[in-house]
């Protein structure tokens, strides 16, 4: 089993080569952005992209009618006062469903909707990568094609099934749907990662008498942790930010945060206006925290999902 535990040497060599390259490039970086026009343009784009979010953040801290009566830039001329009370009002719902209810629902929806498809996809990806069987290519192509199917195509028939089984007020319908919609891409990506593992490792384990299940759990899973993390973040953000599946399948007690703030937009004129900005900011916090803390994995997953074939 020693051969199995030994780290794969290839990535390390690549890493040092990359580091060297990065150093070389850093050396001639000075010549690159010497033009003040280039820096100015970059800063301009950065400002353009940040100001709308920044405006909402400011608006979320202005006391009651202010966000509806003047632009956020009036925050600094002293006409409105700073308050964090809006966050409290939004959190407790201002008479409607409290925001924390939606956030709890989002958490309850997201954890199984990430865990289940990844586990199933890992198993399927292993079968496609390392178990020879008849019809494998056709099945794999079928899975690949299913990534393409827009989820709109599957919503109505699934809804019929859920109504008949009686799942429309539960989380099961949402979990099942996210699992189904997440599987094709998950299988495809994880299969690509699994294929990159040297066959000699699997062969060595097989000679040691390990069956497919043991090879999968003891040999492949530890090596796939970064790939799993990448896809987990992808699926997490997808489920957390989803609106279409939520609107179609959730009952009155299972609506996630996206549906919660979408509902607030329809009562914009009335009390909704004060709690809309803080509610939207609160809804952003979780995906932002995930993205910022796990950025490295996320970019990897993004690249694997789009550039890799």
């Amino acid at each position: 089993m020693t051969a199995v535990v030994a780290p794969v040497p290839v990535p390390e060599a690549q890493l040092s080569a990359r580091k060297l390259k990065a150093q070389q490039r850093a050396a001639d970086a000075k010549t690159k952005l010497s033009s003040p026009w280039a820096s100015g343009l970059a800063i301009l784009i950065a400002i353009l992209w940040t100001v709308p979010t920044f405006g909402l953040l400011i608006n979320s801290t202005r006391s009651d009618p202010a966000p509806q009566q003047s632009g956020f830039w009036n925050f600094w001329n002293g006409s409105t006062s700073f308050t964090l009370g809006n966050y409290g009002t939004a959190w407790s719902g201002n008479g409607g469903t409290p925001l924390y209810d939606f956030i709890i629902n989002s958490v309850v929806i997201t954890l199984p909707a990430v865990f289940i498809p990844i586990t199933l996809a890992l198993l399927a990806a292993y079968a496609f990568a390392w178990i020879p069987f008849r019809g494998k290519n056709i099945m794999f192509i079928a899975v690949f094609v299913m990534q393409v199917v827009p989820i709109q195509v599957a919503l109505l028939p699934l809804l019929t099934v859920y109504v008949k089984v009686g799942l429309t007020n539960s989380f099961w319908s949402i979990w099942l749907s996210h699992t189904i919609f997440g599987l094709p891409l998950a299988i495809f990506l994880l299969h690509n990662f699994m294929k990159e593992i040297p066959p000699s490792l699997i062969e060595a384990a097989r000679v040691d008498g390990a069956g497919h299940v043991k090879i999968f759990i003891k040999v492949l899973l530890p090596l796939l942790v970064p790939a799993i993390a990448s896809f987990a973040i992808f699926q997490f953000l997808w489920v957390w930010n989803d609106l279409l599946v939520a609107l179609t399948f959730s009952g009155e007690n299972t609506a996630p945060i996206t549906q919660g703030i979408q509902g607030l937009t329809t009562q914009f004129g009335s009390g909704g206006s004060t709690i809309l900005p803080p509610a939207a900011i609160l809804a952003m916090l979780v995906p932002l925290a995930v993205f910022l803390s796990l950025q490295r994995f996320f970019v990897r997953g993004l690249l694997a999902g789009s550039v890799k074939g």
Partner: protein, 399 residues
């Protein structure tokens, strides 16, 4: 075999030696298991196909009855405790089932067909009912008529498709085309420009995070952010509330009602989607730019190429496959996106796109029309994806 037994054998192997024809004896297991999987799939298809009877009791849970605490927890959770408990139950149940399956197939000499059923069976069930059959059923539905209760009521040929291509919906098609072409174009242009500008600067990581932020948050949240940018013009003489109109005022233009004006609304929403997708484009293109071999750039520099010339004649051609992949990926995302139009479009037909028209038809139970919209989206997406896959293969080969 002796070599294997020298190393610590698994408990199963340590048992009494099996008869040599064991493999033959268990060969009926695989067809039986796959037969069961097939039956489950047929059951699912039957559930989705048989008409929805008014007042018929659901199989597992009926909220018209007065259910006990446990079944409410499972199928209609209302309190925090019930919700968290049902989540734990779901994960535990899933783990137990998968653990049992893996334990059952983890034996020596087990036929490959049985092992495959363990690894692939759940996925085959999920995908064939949930995606394959659902897609087929939606295509069938798009040729059917539906009554107000949402029940199928005979075939109507191409009537639903005629509706998609006529009346107010022609505007939907035009808007969708605008989305498909403008969003990828601008997202890639800004993303590429920004990636080049911040490449190898001191603030690269922070600068990239700023642009990527809109990609990470939900489109609903983005819609709310931009609502405050596009707020309606203030009464004359008063200061503007919305950022867009304040800027227009500043340069002396006429403030607009961005969302409700005819072609303007679509462009306003497209800007939001560009704002979201630029981060994605920038990230992928930046990685591609960094992968361009140094010797190529060095050679071009020695030949005297600098600045824009270096970029357009050397860098851009070498990342062309990636640019195409990003263009098509963003185009498909724009076609399938419904959140932005749903949250910001004010439910105006002139702002509408296919994905949101689908949802609107779904809400009013026009299942046939919804099916037709879904099929049209599918038909537009398919050639783009095929093209995309070819480009990806090319990109692989070039590397």
């Amino acid at each position: 075999m002796t070599e294997v037994q020298d190393r610590a054998p698994s408990p199963v192997q340590a048992q009494a030696p099996r008869p040599a024809n064991k493999l033959k004896e268990t060969s009926w297991v695989a067809p039986v298991i796959w037969g069961v999987i097939g039956l489950v799939i047929i059951g699912g298809i039957w559930l989705s196909w048989s008409p929805l009877k008014q007042g018929a009791s659901p199989l597992l849970y009926n909220n018209q009855d007065d259910p006990g605490w446990i079944s409410r927890m499972l199928f209609q959770p209302t309190t925090l405790g019930q919700k968290l408990l049902v989540m734990v139950v779901a994960i535990a149940l899933f783990l137990a089932i998968m653990g049992l399956i893996l334990w059952l197939i983890d034996r020596p000499k087990i036929p490959t067909g049985v092992v495959l059923a363990g690894f692939l069976g759940p996925v085959v069930i999920f995908l064939s009912i949930g995606l394959l059959w659902s897609a087929i059923k939606t295509v069938i539905q798009s040729f059917q008529k539906f009554d107000d209760a949402g029940a199928a009521n005979g075939f109507v040929g191409l009537d639903n498709y005629a509706k998609v291509f006529s009346g107010q919906n022609t505007q939907v098609l035009i808007n969708s085309v605008l989305w498909i072409f403008l969003v990828p174009l601008f997202a890639v242009a800004f993303g590429l420009l920004y990636a080049v500008l911040v490449d190898r600067t001191r603030f690269e990581a922070v600068a990239k995070s700023l642009i990527f932020l809109p990609t990470a948050i939900s489109m609903v949240a983005s819609g709310i952010i931009w609502r405050y940018v596009y707020l309606a013009p203030a009464p004359s003489g008063k200061d503007q509330i919305g950022l867009a109109n304040a800027l227009v005022d500043l340069v002396g233009g006429t403030p607009q009602n961005w969302i409700t004006k005819a072609p303007l609304g679509t462009f306003a929403l497209i800007i939001v989607m560009v704002w979201i997708q630029t981060g994605f484009a920038m990230t992928v293109l930046s990685a591609a730019l960094k992968a361009v071999p140094d010797d190529i750039i060095e050679a071009a520099r020695i030949d005297g190429a600098t600045g824009p010339r270096l970029f357009f004649s050397v860098m851009l051609p070498s990342i062309r496959p990636t640019v195409v992949v990003v263009l098509t990926t963003v185009a498909i995302a724009s076609l399938k996106t419904f959140d932005i139009v749903n949250v910001m479009g004010g439910n105006l037909p002139k702002n509408n796109i296919l994905a949101n028209a689908f949802y609107n038809a779904l809400v009013v139970r026009q299942n046939g029309l919804a099916g037709a919209f879904a099929v049209v989206i599918f038909i537009i997406v398919t050639p783009v994806i095929i093209f995309n896959v070819r480009q990806m293969k090319k990109a692989e080969e070039n590397r």
